[in-house]
Symmetry: C2
Subunit: 156 residues, 2 copies
């Protein structure tokens, strides 16, 4: 029996553990810089939503994201960060249930939900299309402080 509940500050360590598993799975563990205290703060912020799936007492997955101001819409949207289901709990509809729980969470405010997926995650793309989402290719860009500092330094 899978139950889904919204995570609070006391779930910080659990959420971070699941995030580490997801990041390791995606070979991007180095990109995780948040610690338990950051998550405790984040989970106390009403704009942050993490829904945890439990099988009895065992956490088996989560979906996370932040409600954010969108300048084109002139209102908020929900920017989903992660959807993760632990290996032992896959192929049982947990991912779909997490997405539908997120939809239920976003429905009262009629929030559009947006996210990015890795280009090579074709199973993920099919999963999202089955839910009725619209997908399109894009280029993501990141400009870090050392990268832009190098250009600021040579400007004059």
């Amino acid at each position: 029996m899978i139950a889904i509940d919204r995570a609070g500050p006391d779930d910080a360590a659990t959420v971070l553990e699941l995030l580490h598993e997801l990041a390791e799975h995606e070979d991007s563990l180095r990109a995780v810089r948040s610690n338990t205290e950051d998550w405790r703060t984040a989970l106390a912020d009403p704009s942050v939503t993490v829904l945890l799936a439990h099988d009895g007492h065992r956490p088996v997955g989560y979906v996370s994201g932040v409600c954010q101001r969108n300048l084109w819409l002139g209102r908020d949207l929900f920017a989903m960060d992660d959807l993760y289901v632990r290996p032992g709990a896959r192929d049982q509809g947990v991912g779909r249930r997490l997405m539908l729980a997120l939809a239920e969470h976003c429905q009262p405010d009629e929030l559009v939900i947006t996210w990015g997926a890795r280009s090579d995650n074709e199973a993920g793309h099919r999963f999202y299309r089955r839910l009725g989402a619209t997908l399109w290719p894009k280029v993501a860009a990141s400009w870090s402080p050392p990268q832009y500092a190098a250009h600021l330094a040579t400007r004059e």
Copy 2:
């Protein structure tokens, strides 16, 4: 002589006019739902930054975005929305100057700057790479209230 300044609430109409031009150029005018009043509110929000480039009194371009909590980093990053230079002002380095002004704005808090670009905007990709940004292909997804409502309705 190009000057770059941070837009305030009184610049709402100007910013919206430039956004309409950008959206029309990208054939996505229908995606702009914000009005002048939304922009007046947004431009009063310290987490929203719009930098306007002026040639004398004439606005010639802008860069926009929102400082947002990032759950992986455990801190804020700057999510850039738009970079736009009006047709008559192109090829004079205005885009580069806007990006460097944004970098200067983000440098004190050491904010990573992230954004998305259209896959087919190859000139844009080259421009961003010349600035030292890291680019990679991605799939973007959007799930609107009518799309997810259809799935919620059939859940039981």
